[in-house]
Symmetry: D2
Subunit: 381 residues, 4 copies
């Protein structure tokens, strides 16, 4: 019998891209075996998908509740150990909550929930359950993001004095200018997508990333969001001023109407000793800038990197790894936690990252609605 | 007798870098001859400098007032036609004003003055004088900046929907953390440098550039500035939210504590058809981004560029020109105006650019001091 | 029962990096299931490794011959369908030959064999066996390499007139200058590594890539190799002049003493209509150069790409994929061939690529040894 | 009276681009004053051009011989001190020779002459004249090229082991495929352009640059040139294998049919300690590669640069300078030599560079014509 971690999957069937990402990530370090799940709400499609990806169908369930019920009947050493939630956002909360209440470890796609209130409930539930819970802010798994975090933690930038993240995309441009399209896209429908499109989808990545690499906490925000059309109910662009712990100021610039941009997520942190810059579209380069010295460009796999970074590189320098590898690293970290092996807290984002992300979304929207005023981010533990 | 434009220079002696920039720029298209000036307040150094740069000393004057008085005695066809003001900022206003009142054309370094009030007076003076007046926002002379302006003007981006400028430097980092140094640097002394360091020095470049390339007018600003230390009286970092004409929103991010950054001035404009990006440190590349099409990279000197852009390129593609060439283009435009030749309004920045720049500085500081609120930019003509 | 392709693996145990690459690649499109193999020559380590990667041990065999014997006892619908050979180079030939003789499909690491003679024998064996045989020139699986091939095939470059490949590494630099180290490294030992180090290891990649993307055949070569030290028996640097079909000339520059280079493999092809450039370290960018037009930068996942390219991208534009994804694409192509599904000949490199690669190595060394003269590459089918 | 160096110019009138380059370069450091010359063979155009560029016409001569005769009548302290030769190539030799014989300093465009024989004669003439003679291999004036030279000279790369230069252009592509055009272009006419087009025009730049930065001497060459059409008499592409002093091997790749390339001149030198790379189209970046360390990117104007490099930068880091500035640096070095001030031998290319360049052209063509064999480069002093 394989000693791999038994993984169940919720959602991610059909043409789902996120499904591919999680399946490949789970395979990357030989740590997981997918044993079942519910890929689609329609049972025939669910079974068909399982066959298509070469899975036995005996643990493909007709719905989530059945999955819970049937898995609980299995002996512990056969039962799913962890379940990945890849369903539409509004299902994250009830699924995660019930999984936790029944003792499962959980890997949950972002956003954690649709409201901050739900997120806090989930956090409380997790404290009772005491299982492993990861939120897949995928970009934190890149080796050079991890290296950025470690260098800052080790004081290589000195005292931090400025943080800046840009996350520009252009994908909504062909949609937003068409009255028909913008009224029918689920991403712009508050009932389906929560209260924010741009801040909710990519602003949270920027928020989480800045906290992840800098070790700072964002304490308050002032946001100016952009809806472009009066009949559009969701922000599709916005700038958020930040005030962080240690009196550090910063800014998050986000847009989904940055026409022609693909996924331009750029992170910059400056301290009194040096600055660091990283760009998601070229994730294997980390730029170290020091007063009056040549720019240094760090790349993955070299021994000058930290242990946390090196743990996330599989091949020698010059063999580019990408976003699948980044997600693979998060799964690897979760596997260590499930297997009670030692791991670094930077190996996967936790529920606290997810809860703070939800609070950030709500506070950014609140700041905008109140006329671009400062609003405090709540503290959570 | 040479038919070159007779140019006088104020300041720019000694080790002045700006002096080199203006002298080379004036030589670039064979249009100007430096005939005299006042390079230094100390007469011996003034004369010594003139000799060092190979100038006859007969029109090197002991001070500005003498220059005016003596030049006016010369017949018009020998008199200086234009005077470049490269002196410390607080001298720009009195010198420019007197030059205008005496009928000289003027090329003035930025910032135009030390206050918006002075700037408006100067504008009124110019209206009476009706001479040529240029403010050297140097970066607008780059061929690919001009190309950006023309493409936007011609509608290649469609209706604009987002503007963004970043101007990050790190030069003040080694100064700001040393109590002694930060209290003695003239750049951080309000009496010598006006009310703002970062917004005043580089924020204005970003402001002018966004208006130059986009054709939009910034209508109001909300600024969050950063002083880092309580005893520091001048901002050395700041983010300014923008609301522009045509309901376009935007942001200007500036910093002088972005440790290790040199002169990272990046301009992005997005419309509903496409986006454009330009970076000052690699000024010969203009990036055109369109939904679902390959990124296109435009370079100077190609026939696909606009007339305004091509007018600013001296060599064929692949022969990189730089900032001296950019300033040379501004001098070339001024020469056309002085010589009453036809020219494009994009060829050099005018006093209006200078006046608006001063207003931007004051309004950004006002916004910050009032608690990060929206403040309107005044209209001027 | 899973309908995945049953995959066996030879070699790749212990700390093998190539083993990780093949395992992840095989998992990437849900097409393969690893059912057994021989990971290590020492049986305990072999079993230990299987457990470590979570495999059942019932089909982990003590050696290659046992694997063949035992697998043949299994019914066809349980037997391994394809075996990946990741062992040291000298084992490729006997293993591949026996596998073919017993009807297995084969995925073989490069170089195919240690001599051209062996390679030809293998080719003859394959003709008898009529199974699927792939040689893992990994880089041909990148989406933008595939796109380059398709654009050239479709005439977008016009008539080709120049090909150029550079493959520079620096890894042998710390070894080559130490007499002790260079005499003990297996890579510089002809008995273990064949007759060439640099041409054999990376020159062949360049050779195969040029033929892959251009559709041309290299017809003759003139090589100048570099051994640096008299006691060193293997080239560690060399330039190879090329004459190709259609009277196209070209050059392959290779080095392992390009100190500080990681894996700088750059491919350029120029035709009378346009040129294309691709760089392995930034594999998601393809540069299209046309006379007098802006440079165009193509990226994966956009609908402007060919079907062959798009088939190799799993996520939308802006989500960088890397070398694991490239190898995954090759495995995907092989899966189609094994499953008798339609596939493009560009989806995986065949034995012909492997045989020609071996001939290239031998001819380059022959050219050098004869005093840098032209030597013909043989034709094979 | 100005103490600037009195400069005469031959050629460079009309729409000449090279004329602009030399005039701006001469003005860049306030060291030269253009006092006269012969810009055009037609006297009216000559005078007209002088007026257009604002020069007094009293020393604009009707032809070269008149210039010599009249200038010699002037007292030494009024006479032209240096003459720049920008005429068609075949005139370089007779003009330079006569100038030297009459005691003038000379700045001569490349190629120095049309044959190696002429070049040697000129070298002998210079030895008699003992004046200053510079050949404008423009690219050697870039600050980061100078930095490359100094770092190599100071041993920062250790013992050199590989040199590589690529010089790819595409400009002849639209000409070469048209039988009419290729037979009428002067660049492809041996009577007007000597025996080589591609090697002669850009290959020599690569040859000179490699010797300039590395300090090595190329000792023999093996060339494979490309003419594309039988009726085309001049190479328009070619690869040249190099054997240099200290047993260093290398390669020069050149092309004018690299369709879509602008002026892609890339220089790489590798030693046993590190490697350096520089690209002409982005001349302000110098890449230092060391085993197992982060890539370092050096930029102009920083104090970590050598004195030779810093002497060629006028503004602080982040203010990009370009090819005009590079030529300006060469003029600055020549001015020092003329003024008998101390200067570094790296400040301007000498006649020896020009002579060796001519020999390189002839030997590369000889190697090709003899069937791609090794041919020795002659030594000269």
């Amino acid at each position: 019998m394989s000693n791999k971690i038994r993984l169940g999957i919720l959602g991610g069937g059909g043409d789902s891209l996120i499904g591919v990402l999680h399946r490949v990530a789970s395979a990357m370090y030989d740590k997981y075996q997918i044993v079942g799940g519910v890929f689609n709400p329609v049972f025939e499609e669910n079974i068909g998908f399982a066959k298509k990806i070469g899975l036995p169908t005996n643990r493909i369930y007709k719905d989530f509740d059945t999955l819970i019920a049937e898995e609980l009947k299995l002996p512990v050493n056969e039962r799913m150990q962890v379940v990945s939630i890849l369903t539409p956002n509004f299902l994250h909360f009830p699924m995660a909550k019930k999984l936790l209440e029944n003792g499962f470890n959980v890997i949950c796609e972002k956003p954690l929930t649709t409201t901050y209130e739900e997120a806090k409930v989930l956090n409380a539930t997790l404290k009772m359950a005491n299982t492993v819970f990861a939120v897949t802010y995928t970009y934190t798994g890149y080796p050079m993001v991890r290296q950025m975090r470690e260098m800052i933690k080790n004081g290589e930038l000195g005292k931090l004095q400025k943080v800046d993240a840009q996350y520009y995309q252009g994908w909504i441009n062909p949609i937003i200018h068409d009255k028909e399209k913008r009224s029918t896209t689920w991403r712009l429908n508050p009932e389906k997508s929560g209260i924010s499109c741009c801040v909710g989808d990519i602003g949270t990545h920027a928020f989480d990333m800045l906290e992840y690499v800098s070790g700072l906490k964002v304490e308050s925000v002032l946001a100016d969001l952009n809806y472009l059309y009066e009949d559009n109910k969701m922000d599709i662009d916005g700038t958020v001023l930040l005030r962080c712990s240690n009196n550090v100021k910063g800014v998050i610039c986000t847009s989904q109407i940055a026409t022609g941009e693909e996924n331009s997520f750029i992170v910059k942190v400056y301290g009194d000793k040096a600055g660091l810059k990283w760009e998601q579209e070229n994730p294997n380069y980390l730029y170290l800038m020091e007063d009056g010295k040549p720019l240094r460009v760090l790349k993955p796999g070299h021994s000058y990197n930290s242990a946390l970074s090196l743990d996330g590189t599989k091949l020698p320098p010059g063999h580019p790894e990408g976003i699948f590898d980044s997600m693979g690293n998060i799964y690897k970290g979760v596997a260590k936690a499930i297997n009670k092996e030692p791991y670094d807290h930077g190996e996967y984002p936790t529920i606290i990252d997810g809860v703070r992300g939800m609070n950030f979304i709500e506070k950014a929207v609140e700041s905008h609605q109140k006329g671009n005023v400062w609003v405090a981010i709540e503290t959570i533990d």
